[in-house]
């Protein structure tokens, strides 16, 4: 994900990924879930844009 996905793609992803995870989204909650995921993916894009050195680093606590 090189940039924040567009709204329509994001909404489609939320619907399908939620269904695959067994999560039911009440229509009243859906806009907020899409907005939250959009912000998280925006944060992910910011991290992704930073060129990290190639050496592997184990995930986990500092």
């Amino acid at each position: 994900m090189s940039d924040t996905p567009d709204r329509e793609a994001l909404a489609a992803y939320v619907d399908q990924a939620a269904a695959l995870q067994g999560l039911t989204l009440d229509p009243a909650w859906r806009p907020a879930v899409i907005a939250h995921l959009g912000r998280i993916l925006g944060a992910a894009a910011l991290v992704e844009q930073f060129p990290l050195p190639e050496e592997p680093a184990p995930p986990g606590p500092p």
Binding site: A18, Q21, T24, L25, R39, P59, P62
Partner: protein, 467 residues
């Protein structure tokens, strides 16, 4: 010595000297909670019966010539994500009410009780520790004792407000992105987030396991150190607890901190603060003769990475309940957790890789001083029930309420020890400054905090009840 302003060590001194009984101290604390908590909403459970029984045991031990511990008779409360034997562990949730009561105390609770402190109840928080305001939909908002129209901060808001309001001299909280330090700052008390791994998390409802810390809140530096000394150290029951011997901080509290190099964190840590927060920072910097500015690179990206990790880990822990009873979550938390469950694994792993890179850069900067200063929050406590407005911080759109952790989140991200100290007379509402240390060097922070307290730069008086 049974009044709201008594600190934990002063109480322990008179109890140990048998000038006042632990039972009297406990009864007085329970009476204060009954009288004042209706207005503050700190407690979700008051453990009067076990508290009085504990107090009796302390009095009996003293009568028999046994040592009941350094905190004998000092009342304390714990954020309700700590297991307390006999109580369901709520972690701020309605769902937790359906769980069976905890069979035993969390390690940190058991250690404080073993030091003689008397547990008087469990404290309100943001559901599952996800939030900075303790505006809990199920249990109501905790109110700031300095201005009841304002939030206490969060997620350990009940802990901050109970200490600031003089209901208890000590409380335990947890801090993932700032959840001890933010309420400490807003409520005008001291809060310690120790080094990652220093204090056991066994028996707490975790929020984001690679970021969660346990620590104390108090109104004096010596009390904070006594509580930390009681709870720190290895614990086989918590795989994240470091296998390092404890470093007691109480005994070195009064050592002159003059030899420690103190620097101010510039850049990100000054950019987003209001004028009063910067003035409070300057006051502390001046008292410590800290004129150097040092900068950590890529702090905004560190914050972004912490956000991704928190969202992913937090959701993963609650996936089963999100599938079967999402409607029972606090709506604000539910929508965040549902979104977090959909974050691609690649984003999470990239965030953890960035974390390792950032930690290495922070290590380089840590060589330049022993203690670093930064504001705790961008400004004072906001009003309860404010609008869910958005702000753009370093190019990323965030909820204004998430912005409350703008200075705390990048530091817990790399596990550094931090004490948030309340700056005396910072303005109409309390403000905190973070004293940030090198890993495992909590003792340095305590020496500096103590110096600031002795000089009157740091003070945490009990909040005067509002008219």
């Amino acid at each position: 010595m049974t009044g709201p302003a008594a600190d934990a060590l002063a109480i322990a001194a008179v109890v140990r000297a048998r000038r006042v009984s632990a039972r009297e101290v406990t009864a007085a604390a329970l009476a204060r909670i009954r009288a004042r908590d209706g207005a503050l909403n700190c407690f979700t459970a008051v453990t009067a019966e076990t508290a009085l029984a504990d107090a009796e045991r302390i009095d009996q031990a003293l009568a028999a010539g046994r040592d009941p511990g350094p905190l004998a008779g000092a009342p304390f409360g714990v954020k309700n994500l700590f297991d307390v034997a006999g109580l369901p562990t709520l972690a701020g949730s309605k769902i937790g009410r359906d769980r069976p009561p905890a069979a035993r105390d969390a390690t940190a609770v058991a250690r404080l009780r073993a030091a003689g402190a008397v547990l008087v109840g469990a404290l309100n928080m943001d559901e599952y520790a996800s939030g900075f305001t303790t505006e809990n939909t199920h249990y109501g908002p905790t109110r700031n004792p300095h201005d009841r129209g304002r939030v206490a901060g969060g997620s350990s808001g009940g802990s901050g407000a109970a200490v600031a309001g003089g209901l208890v001299p000590l409380a335990l909280g947890s801090d993932t992105n700032g959840s001890i330090r933010v309420p400490a700052a807003f409520c005008g008390v001291l809060g310690l987030k120790p080094s990652f791994g220093r204090v056991s998390r066994a028996g707490i409802a975790l929020f984001a396991p690679s970021l969660d810390h346990v620590g104390p809140l108090a109104r004096t530096v010596a009390d904070l150190a006594a509580a930390f000394d009681a709870i720190q150290g290895p614990d086989p029951a918590d795989p994240a607890a470091a296998d390092r011997p404890p470093t007691p901080c109480g005994p070195t509290l009064d050592q002159d901190p003059g030899g420690l190099r103190v620097a101010v964190l510039g850049g990100h840590f000054e950019r987003h603060a209001c004028a009063e927060a910067l003035a409070a920072l300057e006051r502390v910097a001046k008292a410590l003769e800290a004129s150097r500015r040092v900068e950590v690179p890529e702090v905004a990206r560190a914050r972004a990475a912490a956000t991704i990790i928190t969202a992913s880990e937090g959701s993963a822990l609650h996936l089963a309940d999100l599938r079967t009873r999402a409607a029972d979550f606090d709506p604000m938390v539910r929508d965040r957790f549902l979104a977090g469950a959909l974050v691609p694994a690649s984003a999470y792993l990239r965030a953890q890789r960035f974390r390792a890179w950032f930690r290495a850069r922070v290590d380089e900067v840590l060589g330049e001083a022993d203690v670093f200063l930064a504001p705790t929050t961008p400004g004072p406590a906001p009003p309860i029930g404010g609008p869910a407005t958005m702000v753009v911080v370093d190019g990323v759109e965030v909820l204004a309420r998430s912005h409350l952790g703008v200075f705390t989140q990048p530091l817990s991200f790399v596990g550094l020890p931090v004490i948030s100290v309340p700056v005396a007379d910072a303005g109409p509402l309390p403000l905190g400054v973070q004293l940030i240390g090198r890993p495992w060097r909590e003792a340095d922070l305590f020496r500096v905090a103590r110096r600031l307290e002795v000089e009157g730069v740091v003070a945490a008086p009990v909040a005067r009840p509002a008219p």
